[in-house]
Amino acid sequence: MTAAVTIRIQEADFDIAQEISALTQGRTDIGAVVSFSGICRGSEGADTIAALTLEHYPGMAEAEITRHAETAMSRWPLTGLTVVHRVGRIAPGENIVLVLTASQHRQAAFQAAEFLMDYLKANAPFWKREEKPTGTSWVDAHHGDDAAAARWTKS
């Protein structure tokens, strides 16, 4: 079983259907693909958000995503995995991140996708800045993100 792994960090938008097709084309060993996409919201509580700007740590961001991809592949029988994370200015309604996991059966694909998103949110070096009517500010980390990542740690 070989797993096709694609990891990209880019300013440009991505096309989910195209990414799924690239992952599954010519393969007959994939029975399930789970797709998660994170999308920029236009509001946070009562505040309107005009846009997000994402900063990242080049080099480490790729390394960290690769580490988590390798962990996911060692824990679940995946046949393919794609992570695309955008950086730069992103408007409400636009894509921010894509995680695709492919496997022979759905359970591994569902679990690996959730694991990867939980780990990326807590550990991948990306930072969001929000543009609100009152000015711009860095988004505070959610305490829940660390907890969500920690629940995958085997005791």
């Binding site: 994402l54 740590y57 390394a63 998103m117 990326l120 949110k121 070096p125 860095w138 988004v139 980390a141």
Partner: protein, 83 residues
């Protein structure tokens, strides 16, 4: 060694990277944070709450008690908010 700053740590310090030569008494990540904080007002502001600052050595997360000897690049940044 090369030091990099990201997000609001970068904004407060006023630069994204620099080369520093701390004295030999600066042995851990936490020592380096305290040494940097003493370099001036902008640094003091960036590192005023050391417990919220995250660090990475050569592209891997490290804890504050990690020794910095042999590090090529050390980065400081706030908790991550990607995804």
């Amino acid at each position: 060694m090369k030091v990099k700053y990201f997000a609001w740590v970068r904004e407060r310090v006023g630069k994204s990277e620099e080369t520093v030569e701390p004295p030999a008494s600066v042995r851990t990540v936490d020592d380096l944070i305290r040494w940097l904080a003493g370099r001036g007002e902008t640094y003091a502001h960036a590192f005023e709450t050391p417990r919220v600052i995250r660090a990475a050595i050569d592209h891997a997360h490290v804890k504050s008690d990690t020794m910095i000897a042999g590090a090529g690049e050390i980065a400081f940044f706030p908790p991550m908010t990607g995804g």
